[in-house]
Symmetry: C2
Subunit: 373 residues, 2 copies
């Protein structure tokens, strides 16, 4: 039995979007979906009960961080990541590739893998494709990612070509190393930077591996948004229709809708939790910086159109006070609201696909949020 199965429910008649379900052994994921990020075996400031309350269907956790701390062997002894953190719904783990490449001068890439120094204590480590699989097997995530190389932006054509070809070779090694295919689905990552021919090459090579799902990597790395959309325009049509499509590291409301319009099923990003901890809320009327003095006497909800716990129970004036006073409850409440906001946005996207009106939904949402179309 396969670890996951993608079911295509319907395609939107107004866009390239698709409504679907990913069947996993830990439950069904309605797509398109946003995945809250729980880097260190916890979605920052949230309990798992709160994640369920806001209807999180799957969360993401980071292999690099868990490998360093507390260590994948410890997590394995605890009974795997689900049991360790008390979350019984699906988990996707990244491969650690993006994180180790982001270490810059602290890492050295060879064909064998990547040698790097820990950002925590400077200790030396080596992650190969085989090691990335071993770690993710120990963590026991439902969806694993191949160890890839994510090219920076901007990058020369030849650099990106060499990089994506290595990613293909590493993906093969990951597939060979991965034995637990019944319980953990290994996804491929299409690279190729901002070059259409290279995206085609990467997709063609990776599709030969017949992996149970595919991601678009190397986006949201500093390029302008229109360029990201362009890349998606020519990349998603290259991806299998009968498998989930995952756009990595993207989480602003406009990108989620634009990604869904282009046929993406899964998204993740630290954006909602990170800006929440910094006092910025996503609301139906756009971003709200809660510390702003104009909220001092605002005895009204953060978002009058939101029916989340925070908006039902607290005022902007109180939330502002919590942030001015450095109170943990402030971080908690804005994190909760922002995640709720994005998950509800995705529920709206799914509903709009069902009704063949995702472009209308985009227009309505953008107008209120203050985005330009």
């Amino acid at each position: 039995m396969m670890a996951i199965k993608y079911e295509l429910i319907k395609e939107c008649k107004q866009s390239g979007a698709r409504l679907g379900r990913i069947h996993t052994k830990r439950g069904i994921i309605e797509t398109p979906i946003f995945m809250p990020v729980g880097t260190q075996a916890t979605v920052k400031a949230m309990t798992v009960e709160e994640l369920k309350e806001i209807e999180s269907q799957i969360i993401l956790s980071n292999t690099y961080h868990l490998y360093l701390r507390p260590g994948h062997e410890l997590v394995k002894k605890a009974g795997g990541l689900h049991q360790f953190m008390n979350w019984d719904k699906p988990i996707l783990t990244d491969s650690g590739g993006f994180q180790v490449f982001s270490l810059g001068a602290l890492r050295k890439i060879t064909e064998e893998g990547v040698e790097f120094r820990s950002h925590l204590d400077g200790s030396k480590h080596f992650i190969s494709p085989e090691k990335a699989v071993e770690i993710q097997n120990a963590l026991g995530s439902d969806i694993m990612m191949v160890f890839d190389e994510c090219a920076p932006y901007p990058a020369e054509w030849q650099y990106v070509k060499n990089s994506l070809e290595r990613t293909t070779r590493w993906a093969k090694r990951c597939k060979e190393a991965h034995k637990n295919t019944d319980n953990q689905a290994l996804f491929g990552i299409i690279q190729g930077g901002m070059y259409e021919d290279l995206r085609r090459q990467s997709a063609a090579e990776l599709l030969e591996l017949d992996l149970p799902g595919y991601a678009v990597g190397g986006l949201s790395v500093g390029e302008p948004k229109h360029l990201m959309y362009e890349v998606l325009d020519y990349t998603t049509p290259l991806m299998p229709k009968d498998k989930p499509r995952y756009l990595m590291g993207v989480g602003s409301p406009d990108c989620l809708i634009e990604g869904a319009i282009r046929g993406i099923d899964m998204f993740d990003c630290v954006l909602p939790t990170r800006i929440g901890r910094n006092g910025t809320a996503m609301t139906s009327g756009g971003r709200v910086v809660i510390k702003n003095s104009k909220h001092t006497e605002a005895f009204e909800p953060l978002d009058p159109e939101c029916d989340c716990y925070v908006c039902k129970n607290y005022t902007r004036a109180y939330l502002r006070h919590l942030f001015k006073a450095d109170e943990i409850l402030g971080l908690r409440l804005l994190t909760y609201h922002n995640l709720y906001f994005l998950l509800k946005l995705m529920a709206g996207v799914r509903q709009a696909i069902q009704e063949d009106r995702l472009l209308d939904y985009r227009r309505e949402f953008f107008t209120k949020y203050g985005y330009e179309l």
Copy 2:
């Protein structure tokens, strides 16, 4: 109608403890009780729903902090402190006295009141007894405290005498300034340091004011515990039997039990929340420092005898990981557990009084916790 009414249910035959109820317009408080501290209109790291889940019956908030930020006028505009923070059960506010005296060189005491500089921005302020009442009236707490002077430890007899006499004069001024007696009960604070004759004098003077409740102040200010117990031994018998007795700023498990044994009904302290945020848990087997390496692979509950949310769902190993990784969830969970632990301890104290066995309860608890009797 009085703002509160104390009902004495029974006295323990084994000790001086008493089982009672404080009837307030926002519900009944079963005593003896521990009050979680919500200094800045939030019990740090907790939601009000969580406070109710662990059966908090009343919380304390700090006048000094709320006066400075967000300001009592703002809280009043918000509909009062209960509405501002979304807590509909009773709130006790201190008078700000203890906090401004703690400012040391930043404050100057005169008969009129205390001039001080804000610990936030150095701005100059003045709080008189009348002002302390005005602020607490604006906050709308169910129980208010008189503006008192808390003598340090150690302090000379004559200094303490002058100080308690000023406290009496200030208490009179507070009583005169307080108009909202139907909704807010003003408690007196018995001072007198570690001198029995001065405690007698203070109690006698304040009892003349016939206030609806009395606190013992000036304890837990650095004196050894046996001295605190001695002071309680001769002070609580001076206090009215038909009114609540509150021991201010005390929250370690042994002091709660010893205080109850001596007839105290109410306690508050930042201890459980503060040490929780620092990674120390109170458990039936004594204090646990969760970062200790011996918990690395401890796949067992924080406290095997505890049935709180944290102990039912998480292991010491996971909690240790959260603290090592500086995750907010760690603070949340240990705060939650510690408050639950103290509230359950007090429920045990009430049960033991009911059964006339509080001294046995103390022996059993102390033995397991590792306290010496």
